[in-house]
C-alpha cells in the first residue's frame, strides 16, 4: 500500500524524467517548426513535463505575445505570454496561416503523433525523405519532392538540414538526429502522461494480483465447507 501511495504521489513528478531526446526535440520545434506549426492545446507550463525548469519556461513564454483584449482606442492589444497561456499558433488567425502557406494551414502538433497515419515513425521518415525531383518530374507549384508522400510531393519545404541548430549537450545535429528528436517530442505532446500511465498500471496490476491470491484463498475456503458437508453429492 505504501508503494501504491508512493506511485500515486509520483504521478505529477514522473514525467519530469523525460529523456533528453524529447528536450532536444523541443529545441528543434522551438527553432525550426514553430515558425509555421502551432501547439494549440499545450501550455507553456506543460513543458515542465519535459523537464524544463520554471525559469526556462518563463523565458520561452516571454518571447511570445498573446492577444489581450482592446486598448483605449478599441484596437486589439497584446501582452507578453505567461506560462499558463497556450503555446498556440505563430499566425494571428487561420486566414493568415493559409495565406502564408500556399492556401493550406500547417497542421497542429498537439496530437499529431496520434492523428497522423503511420504515427511518429512516418513523420520521422518523411522529414528525411526530401530529394531532388527526378528529371522530367513536374511538381505542382509550391510543393516539394518527398518520397514519403503518397503522391511524391509535399507543401512543406525541407525543414531540417544538417547542422542547422546546435544542441547544448553536444549531440551532432544531423537531419536524422533532429528528425528523431522531434519525433520523441511529438510523442510526448500527444501522450504527455504515458510514463505515469505505465507506472500506475504496473502498480494497479501488482495490487490486483495480490488481491487475486487472497480472494482465491478466501473463496476456496468458503466453498470447501460446502463440499465437505455433502461430499457425496455430485456437484
Amino acid at each position: 500500500m505504501r508503494w501504491m501511495l508512493l506511485a500515486l504521489g509520483l504521478l505529477g513528478g514522473v514525467s519530469a524524467h523525460a529523456s533528453t531526446s524529447e528536450q532536444r526535440g523541443f529545441k528543434v520545434f522551438r527553432q525550426v517548426c514553430s515558425t509555421c506549426h502551432s501547439l494549440d492545446h499545450v501550455a507553456y507550463a506543460d513543458l515542465s513535463g519535459l523537464g524544463l525548469t520554471q525559469d526556462q519556461i518563463k523565458e520561452y513564454a516571454a518571447q511570445h505575445q498573446v492577444p489581450d483584449g482592446l486598448d483605449e482606442d478599441g484596437d486589439p492589444k497584446t501582452r507578453v505570454a505567461r506560462p499558463t497561456d497556450l503555446i498556440g499558433s505563430p499566425y494571428a488567425g487561420e486566414a493568415m496561416a493559409r495565406m502564408a502557406n500556399h492556401g493550406s494551414v500547417p497542421p497542429d502538433f498537439s496530437r499529431r503523433a496520434m492523428t497522423q497515419k503511420g504515427g511518429v515513425a512516418w513523420i520521422v521518415r518523411m522529414l528525411q525523405s526530401y530529394a531532388e525531383a527526378p528529371a522530367g518530374r513536374k511538381l505542382p507549384p509550391g510543393s516539394y519532392y518527398n518520397t514519403a508522400m503518397p503522391h511524391g510531393h509535399i507543401g512543406m519545404p525541407q525543414p531540417l538540414h544538417d547542422g542547422q541548430i546546435s544542441y547544448e549537450d553536444g549531440t551532432p545535429a544531423t537531419t536524422k538526429q533532429m528528425a528523431e528528436d522531434l519525433g520523441a517530442f511529438l510523442e510526448w505532446t500527444a501522450r504527455p502522461h504515458l510514463a505515469a500511465r505505465h507506472l500506475v498500471g504496473v502498480f494497479v496490476l501488482l495490487y490486483l494480483a495480490g488481491m487475486y491470491v487472497l480472494l482465491l484463498l478466501m473463496k476456496r475456503r468458503v466453498w470447501s465447507r460446502l463440499r465437505q458437508t455433502d461430499a457425496s453429492r455430485n456437484f
Partner: protein, 398 residues
Amino acid sequence: MTERPTHEAGWLEKRLPIVSVFRREYVDFPMPRNLNSLWSFGAFAMVALGLLVLSGIFLAINYTPTMADAFASIETIDRRVASGWLVRAIHMGGVSMLFATLYVHMGRSLYYGSYKTPRELIWLTGTGLLAMVMITAFAGYILPWGQMSYWGATVVINAVNAVPGIGHPLASWLLGGDGLGDVALHRFYVLHFVTAFSILGVIALHVASIHVSGSNNPTGVDPQGPDDTVPFHPYYTSKDGLGICLFLAVYAVLIFFLPNLLTLSDNYVMANPVVTPKDITPEWYFAPFYAILRAVPSRLGGLVLAAGSIAVLFAVPWLDRSPVRSARYRPLLKIALPVLFFSFFMLGMAGMHAPTAPWLWVSRLCVAYWYAYFLIMLPLLPKIEKTYPVPVALQGQN
C-alpha cells in the same frame, strides 16, 4: 399495537427495516449453488457502471458543453487537470468494459434460458437497459466534439430524420434548431446525464425482479429445497469478488497499457463541419448494428433492420416456445445459439471494415441468421427438437 421490537436495535428496524431487508436480500438470500462464472457478469456490469458514473461526475466538473470550448476542455482534462488523464481513462475504458460485460451477460441469459417464465421482466428490463446504455454511450461520444463525435452525430441524426412520421420531430427536438451546434451539444450533454442516472433506476427494477423469482442456474431447473441453495454471503460474495478482481485486471490492462484500443485517433482532431474524416468507423460496441445498418442498399431498410435487431430481443420470452430452459438439454439450440453468437461477432468485424464485397456479404448472411434465429428457430425448434432428460433437482439424482 400488534408488534413490539424484539430488542433495542429495533428502533430503526421498526421505522425503516433496511438492515433486515439488506440481510434478507443480500446476505442470506438463497442462491442456486451451481452457478458458473458467467453469473458473475452482472456484478461486473455493476462495477463498470459504478466507475462510469463516478468518473463521469468528476469529468463533468471540468467539462464545458459549448462548441468553442468542449474540445479544449477535454484537452485540458487530459493534459493539465490533476489526475484528469486517469479519470478520463477510467471513463473511456469503462464504456468498453460495460458493453463487453453486457453482451456476455445477455448471451448467458439466452444460453441458459434465463428469460423464460417467471423471469420475463428481468429480461425486458435488461434489454431496456442495453438500449439505454446505447443511447447514453452515443450521447457521451458526442461530448468531446472531435471529428468522430461530430460526424457520428451527424450520421445518426440524419438516420433519425429518415424515419417516416416521428423521425423529423424527434430530430428537431434533439437539435433544437436546424444544425448540429451549441444548442444540440448542450442537449446531448443533458441527455447523457439523464439517461445515465435513469439507468441506475432501471437497474433497481432489474435487480428487484431477480430477488422475486430468484436466480436461474445452468440447469434451468429451479432449486427444489434448501440443499440446492447457498446463502449469497459468503458464497457468492467471495466468488463475485474473485471475478471482479480478474475483471478489474482486464480493465486495468486496457486503460494503462492499451489505451489506443479505446479511441479512434480522429476524435483528437476538433470537429470540422466542412471535412469528413476518411474512414468513419463506429466504436466497436456499435459495430454489429452499424454493419446491419449498411447491409441493405436502402436507407430506411437499414434503419428498420438495425432497430429491429434490438427490438426483436424484447419479444424473446414469447418467441421461445420450449418448456426447457437451459440449452444444456436442447441439442439443436446448443448448435443454433453459438452460431448466433458467432454471427454477432462477425457483424462486429463487418462493421469495422468497408462495406465492400466480402464483408458486405458476411454482414448480410449474419443479419439474415440473426432474424432467422429469433423469428423462426426459437418458435419452431421445439417442434422438432428432442430434448435430453432434464434433472429433477440441481445436483442431479444421487
